[in-house]
Symmetry: C2
Subunit: 135 residues, 2 copies
DNA sequence: TTACACTCTATAGTTACTATAGAGTCAAGT
DNA sequence: ACTTGACTCTATAGTAACTATAGAGTGTAA
């Protein structure tokens, strides 16, 4: 199949597929006489694997590492677990950060109703350093 | 003060300050004969304002809009509130997404202990499209 | 005067793509 | 044979908010 069909079937855009090739996530496929890329089913499966990983927000680098591990049979799969654990930690701290942010924004939002002229806006006041030194 | 001192006092890096100037978030300061930037206290306060906003993860564009509003006295501050509300929504949906992600990763992590050879790794198996078609 | 810290501009790199320009390929229809 | 249209090719630039670097100039203290 050509790249357009692969794109449709995999749900990746054409540019993304070419980008993955450039980045070495998928190997360069055969070409037609007219220089068009031709893909087989294994290529589609590789893309699906990458898609699954991206849905979990693994970076392209992490995915590359996973794929490299897959081709070293006999390796203990501890490294895979470690990577997932590390990723879990990252996601956890991102969530914590965002929750703090959310709380801060809520507090900020309380500072102002919506009918005041801008000079008296409690939000802008709160964001300004002068207001903080006033405390 | 010169840019190095401003950087230290504001907690922004020198490059970031120059970047903010290029992007129009702060105005171009006066220069010495030797072409060095010279800043005054209001400049430091502007940077502090930007820093406060960035800590809330507002984009530079949003910050620019806020600063523009500040200089239109008499404007009702509804727009400020709207921006914060919109931002709250974004943060909320990011949190929801990440929580889903976290749950998915946890499930994935369960699929594998850590003493198996890579061929039997439950995680890689789960990520591979073949395993899904096997169901 | 020379060593050193500081600053300047311009440019490239980061992440994972997306978008565009300009050219070439290919099959079907007239 | 010719043209239209859909598809593909490469190369390049843009996204957000910076960070890092090179190579040059400035300023000051010993």
């Amino acid at each position: 199949m050509k790249i357009g069909e692969l794109a449709k079937r995999s749900g990746c855009s054409i540019q993304t597929i070419r980008y993955y090739e450039k980045e070495g996530l998928i190997s360069a496929p055969a070409r037609t006489d007219g220089n068009f890329r031709v893909y087989d089913t294994p290529a589609l499966e590789k893309l699906a694997f990458i898609k699954n990983c991206r849905a979990l927000d693994l970076t392209l680098d992490e995915i590359k590492q996973l794929m490299a591990l897959q081709h070293l049979p006999g390796t203990p799969c501890e490294k895979v677990n470690d990577m997932i654990d590390a990723h879990l930690k990252i996601v956890e701290s991102r969530i914590t950060d965002l929750q703090k942010l959310h709380a801060d924004l809520k507090v900020l939002r309380q500072k102002c109703g919506h009918a005041r002229p801008i000079e008296q806006c409690g939000i802008l006041d709160e964001l300004s350093p002068k207001s903080h030194s006033r405390n």
